[in-house]
Every structure is written in structure tokens, then in C-alpha cells.
């Protein structure tokens, strides 16, 4: 880890922008759909389940998994663009 390269400002900003977008979706599917707007969403149904209830117990978790896959993909691409990527895992 002894590299004296200063992180490119634009890399860090692009990183923060991905992070913030992920967190906005994270907040809306869980706190938004599952808690704050649960009552409103409960008027709709997915199968036999009220939508707000379903988001709280199923939908939000599915979204979290998809979010992390997307995050990994986006960040790996960003790293490659700036030459910060590494081979192997």
C-alpha cells in the first residue's frame, strides 16, 4: 500500500455519486416503502399480500441483493476506467 499516487478527485466524486445513488434506493425500498408509506401501498396487492407489508418482509430484501450486485459492477467498471483495478480475487 505504499503508493504515492494522489487519488484523482474525479474518481472520488464518481465513487461518492455511485454510493449516494445506491443509498437513496436502499432508503426508499426499506424505510420508504416498508415503513413510511406502508399504509398507502397496502391498498395494492401482490398475490394475496398487501404491497407495503410485502415490501417490508420480502421486496426490500430482494432489492438489497440486487443493489449490491449493481454496486459491485459499477465500482469495478469505475476502477477500470481510472486504472485502479486489480486482477484476480
Amino acid at each position: 500500500m505504499k503508493q504515492n499516487q494522489k487519488p484523482s478527485k474525479s474518481y472520488w466524486h464518481a465513487n461518492l455519486s455511485i454510493t449516494i445513488k445506491v443509498l437513496i434506493i436502499w432508503f426508499s425500498v426499506s424505510f420508504g416503502c416498508g415503513i413510511l408509506f406502508k399504509e398507502e401501498l397496502d391498498q395494492f396487492f401482490i398475490g394475496g399480500a398487501p404491497l407495503g407489508f410485502w415490501m417490508a418482509q420480502q421486496g426490500s430484501i430482494i432489492c438489497f441483493v440486487l443493489l449490491l450486485i449493481a454496486y459491485s459492477f459499477l465500482m469495478n467498471n469505475l476502477d477500470k476506467k481510472y486504472g485502479y483495478d486489480e486482477e484476480g480475487e
Binding site: 499516487q5 487519488p7 398475490g47 420480502q58 483495478d85
Partner: protein, 591 residues
């Protein structure tokens, strides 16, 4: 074959595998002891992290909590999964790049102070101790059922096994044991639910059963299962299953505290130090959450099926006609029936049966009649008491599944408790041997001595954890664990975030922030848990959710103190720049 024989077969095989792996992969160096040498594949680490993190509380108590609380239990589901989004986007890639073995290492170096390191060590020990008690309790409950022994004996047996392979194998042994444990857990959790889903809804996939129709009354009477559960709940005086809890702020705070708490749990964070580089951390993170989601998406289905089954099997039946499992668990003291209206029929309704946990009067029980309790009887109409933890344990019996399924569930419970206890024990022992002894008290000890300290610390920690497992300060396993999350939320999460994303926070700010955050949270919990029986919470926020408020206190205090004291030195600012570049993480090192 007899149930006990099946139990012995399943527990025997799984234990043989765990111990075999522990011996095969035991750690030789501190590096292997702390981070498994830093070369675990993201997929394997994902499984290991999932097992590490899904505790006895998740496995045994969560579905019971969902069965009892319905929508109200969503906080556990969202909280314990959503935290991984925070963990992945805000913490572990940077901490992995930093490349040290423990979380207090980062705090000590980033805030250039052994004082900060010491506070972090104390927080880590505190969090892990709170958390590990719940695990020991879980092991005790399962063993007591399995071998028909007292809970305290079960706790001691479980503790000895954990000590054997966690103390011996270190992180390397733990990692590969946890992979095996995850496999046991996922099968034992999902297989019974699949069977039950087919019986109740006709759907093979429980998640579809959850939104499907109830078909037990015949196809022509099919109706949405959730609608039926809502109807039964109202008929028996409960709240609607899918309805809100009323206190949205409290639900919000508890969910948030569980999320940020998950992201601040040291034993979860260190798991990501075992993979090769930052890219592998990200991959490992989504595998982890995928493996966790398999169980978490099943739990709501299990909870609801169990609730339906329990009511159908018990409510309105005569005690003499009660199913066998009912009497088995009654003998364990986890079910009790008080015939309040003397009609010989069990009425399950909303409300308490009696105050607290049942205490039985052994002398007065007659053959074929219920065990008599000495508790003060509650005036409500409810006559059936059950411990929420039995929802998972007794569910296969309730649904009349074959005996080997029941044995499999037992093996899964043990795997869940052991894997988490082992991960926690590792953090506890490294906190003491590495962060406290090596970095603060005795910098010149050798590798060998360091591992010896680690093993001694494991033993000491287990003894204390076993004591509290036998005499738990809080009855519901999940509740004990929720406190650990509150403490993690108010100490590590904000401190690590500030350490990575701000160059201005200095050592004074970090120390003051951690102390005030954890002090406030701890004070609030202790006050409402031990010093008073009143539930007069501030703004209705219960002790489980107060960690979220503690987090803000930590942030605010750290910012204020940092702004009136000198900024961090140049080297530290340079170090922050470096951890923000993913390239060059190298192998996690111990020094």
C-alpha cells in the same frame, strides 16, 4: 427409528465434520489466526460471513418473533439485511484496503492514538460479550431439548465445542467450519418450510406460499393465506397480522439501529479482511447478502405458516387430545396451559396467560394433567403460553413432518449458534491479544505468545458468556442481541464512517464521540431494562432503537470537538487518501 437416534446421527455427523475441518485447517501463524492468511475466495467467504452473522437469534427466535408480531417484526428482516448495503458501500472496501487485522487497529492508526484504540477495544469487547450471551443461551436451549438435560449443561457442552475449534483454529479454522455450518443451516431452515408450504398452500416455494392461497380446507374454499391469518387474528383478539404497529417512529428507529448496528459489528467487518483485494470484497459482499437473503426471505413464510398451524392445532382442543409435541415442549417448560375457565379446553387468545416465564410446582402435577404454574395469573382470556423460540424448533412436529427433519432442524440451530459464537470469540480474543497486549501493553511479545494470549482470552470470554447464557439478563434471545446492535450503531459505525469519509475528524473528536455515543446508549438501555419497570420512553423510542439516536450523538460530538481542536497530522490525511484508492490492498497483515 426413534427421534433420539436421529438426533444423535445428525448432531454426530455435523460435529464430526466441524471438528475434522478445525483440525485440518488449524492456524500456524498470527496471520492465519486473525485473517485466515487473506486468501479466502469471495464465494466461500460469503457463506462463512452469512453463517457467522446469522446467529441463534436469527435462526431460533426470528421466525417466532414474526409469528407473534406479524408486520411488526419487519424491523428484524429489513434491519439485519439492509445493514449489509451500508457495510458494503461505506466501510469494508476501505477497511480492507487499509489492510490491518482488526477494527481497533484502524481506529488506533486513523486517529493516531492509543487512547482511541483502547476505547475501540472496550467497545468491541462489550459488543461481542453482549452478543455471545444470546448464542450460548441458544445452544443451551437446543441441547437441553436434544439430550433431555438442563439448559446450563447444554450451555457448557456448547461452550466447550466452540472453544475447541475457535481457540485452536483461529480465523482459518472458523472460516471453513462456517462454510459447512452455512450448508447445514440453509438446508435445515428451508426444507421443513418447503414441506409445510406444500401442505398449507400447495406451493413448493415458500415465498410464493406466503402470497398464495390457503388450501387445507379444500380447493373450493381456497382464500389468500394472509387474509385468513388476518381473520383468525382478529377473531382471537389479536391485531391484524399485516397491520402497522402504531408507533412508526419507534419502528423506524429500531430498523435503523439494527441496520447501522450490522454495519458496525466487528465480527462481521473482520470477515472481509480474509479475501484478497477490494474487488473480492465487493463480490464477497453480494454473495454474503444472497446467502443471508435465502434464509431471510423464508423466515416470514415460516412465521406465518407456524402461526396458522399453532392456532389450528391447539385452539379449542381438549388438553387430553393435545398433540404429542405440545406435551413434549410442556415438559421442557416452554409451553404451559392454565385452565382459567375450568372447561378442560385450551383457549388461545390475545394477552398474557400469567406474568413472566412459567415456574412450575412439581409436587402438584397429576398424571395426564397439565403442569401447574405458580405464577400470578393474568385476567386475560388467553390460556396457552408458549415461548417464541419453539416456533422454529417445534414447527416440523406441528406440521407432522418425519423425524429426520426434526433432527435436521436441531443440527441447524446448533450450527447457527456455534458459527456466530466462534466468530465473536475470535474478535474477543484478538481484541485482547492483539489490540490490548501487543499494541498497548506489551509491544515486544512474539507471535507464539500472542496466539497463546488469544487462546487464554477465548477461554476467559467463554466462561463469562456461559455464565450469562445460563442466567440471561433478558429473556427473549433476540432482545439480548438487539442491545449489541445498539452499541455497535452508536460506537463503531459513526467512528469508522468519519474516519474514512472525513479528513477533519481528529483523535479528540473520535474519542469524545465514541464515549458519548456509547455512554448515552448504554445508559438508556440499562435505565429502562434494569432500573425501572416504566415504559415511559423518550418519544416512544424503545431501548432497541436508541442506538440510532446514539449514532447521531456520536457524529455531533465528534464534529464539534474536532472543530475546536487541531486537525489530524499530514501522514494521517495521506493515509486517508490511500485507503480511498482500491488498488494495492495486498494481503491483510498483522502488523
Amino acid at each position: 427409528m426413534d427421534q433420539t437416534v436421529w438426533n444423535f446421527i445428525f448432531i454426530g455427523i455435523t460435529f464430526g465434520v466441524y471438528i475434522g475441518i478445525a483440525i485440518w485447517s488449524r492456524a500456524g501463524s498470527t496471520k492465519e489466526y486473525y485473517t485466515a492468511g487473506g486468501g479466502v475466495s469471495p464465494f466461500a467467504n460469503g457463506m462463512a460471513t452469512a453463517a457467522d452473522w446469522m446467529s441463534a437469534a436469527t435462526f431460533i427466535s426470528m421466525a417466532g418473533g414474526i409469528a407473534a408480531a406479524g408486520y411488526g417484526a419487519s424491523k428484524f428482516l429489513m434491519g439485519w439485511t439492509g445493514g449489509f448495503v451500508l457495510l458494503t458501500t461505506l466501510m469494508v472496501p476501505y477497511l480492507r484496503k487499509f489492510g490491518k487485522a482488526t477494527v481497533p487497529d484502524f481506529v488506533g492508526d486513523r486517529f493516531y492514538s492509543n487512547g482511541a484504540r483502547l476505547v475501540a477495544v472496550i467497545c468491541a469487547i462489550f459488543i461481542c460479550m453482549t452478543y455471545i450471551m444470546g448464542q450460548m443461551r441458544g445452544v443451551g436451549i437446543v441441547f437441553s431439548r436434544l439430550f433431555d438435560i438442563e439448559i446450563w449443561m447444554g450451555v457448557i457442552i456448547g461452550g466447550s465445542i466452540v472453544f475447541f475449534y475457535a481457540g485452536l483454529g483461529g480465523m482459518k479454522g472458523i472460516t471453513y467450519t462456517q462454510v459447512a455450518q452455512y450448508c447445514v443451516m440453509v438446508f435445515s431452515y428451508t426444507i421443513p418450510v418447503i414441506f409445510i408450504s406444500i401442505i398449507i398452500t400447495g406451493d413448493v416455494i415458500p415465498q410464493l406460499g406466503l402470497i398464495g392461497n390457503y388450501i387445507k380446507d379444500g380447493a373450493e374454499n381456497a382464500q389468500p393465506l394472509l387474509q385468513k391469518v388476518n381473520q383468525i387474528s382478529i377473531d382471537l383478539g389479536f391485531q391484524e397480522y399485516t397491520a402497522g404497529t402504531g408507533n412508526t417512529l419507534d419502528l423506524f428507529c429500531i430498523t435503523a439501529a439494527l441496520m447501522v448496528g450490522t454495519a458496525g459489528l466487528p465480527h462481521v467487518i473482520v470477515r472481509f479482511f480474509t479475501v484478497k483485494n477490494v474487488r473480492a470484497v465487493r463480490k464477497s459482499a453480494y454473495w454474503t447478502l444472497t446467502f443471508i437473503a435465502i434464509i431471510y426471505l423464508t423466515a416470514p413464510a415460516l412465521g406465518m405458516f407456524a402461526r396458522t398451524n399453532f392456532i389450528e392445532e391447539i385452539n379449542g382442543k381438549k388438553y387430553q387430545e393435545a398433540p404429542e409435541w405440545f406435551k413434549n415442549w410442556e415438559a421442557q417448560g416452554m409451553i404451559a396451559w392454565v385452565d382459567k375457565n375450568n372447561d378442560g379446553v385450551m383457549q388461545y387468545r390475545a394477552g398474557n396467560v400469567f406474568s413472566g416465564k412459567p415456574s412450575f410446582d412439581e409436587n402438584k402435577q397429576k398424571e395426564g394433567s397439565p403442569r401447574l404454574v405458580t405464577n400470578e395469573i393474568d385476567p386475560s382470556q388467553n390460556e396457552v403460553y408458549y415461548d417464541k423460540d419453539i416456533i422454529v424448533l417445534a414447527n416440523p412436529e406441528m406440521a407432522g413432518l418425519p423425524k429426520w427433519v426434526i433432527a435436521l432442524v436441531m443440527a441447524g440451530c446448533v450450527a447457527a449458534a456455534l458459527s456466530t459464537a466462534a466468530g465473536l470469540l475470535l474478535v474477543l480474543s484478538t481484541s485482547i491479544s492483539h489490540d490490548l497486549m501487543k499494541k498497548i501493553l506489551k509491544p515486544d511479545i512474539t507471535d507464539k505468545q500472542e496466539i497463546r494470549y488469544a487462546r487464554m482470552a477465548s477461554f476467559g470470554a467463554l466462561v463469562i458468556a456461559a455464565y450469562f447464557g445460563i442466567n440471561p439478563p433478558s429473556s427473549f434471545v433476540a432482545k439480548t442481541v438487539a442491545f449489541a446492535f445498539g452499541l455497535a450503531a452508536s460506537s463503531f459505525f459513526p467512528t469508522l464512517i468519519m474516519g474514512i469519509f472525513s479528513k477533519k475528524i481528529n483523535k479528540q473528536g473520535a474519542i469524545a464521540g465514541m464515549i458519548s455515543g456509547i455512554g448515552f446508549t448504554l445508559g438508556y438501555i440499562i435505565y429502562f431494562q434494569f432500573l425501572t419497570t416504566s415504559k415511559d420512553y423518550w418519544f416512544g423510542i424503545s431501548p432497541e432503537g436508541i442506538g440510532f439516536v446514539g449514532m447521531f450523538i456520536n457524529f455531533i460530538v465528534a464534529f464539534v470537538v474536532s472543530s475546536i481542536t487541531p486537525p489530524p497530522p499530514k501522514e494521517v490525511q495521506q493515509m486517508i487518501d490511500e485507503i480511498r484508492i482500491p488498488k494495492g490492498a495486498g494481503e491483510a497483515s498483522e502488523h
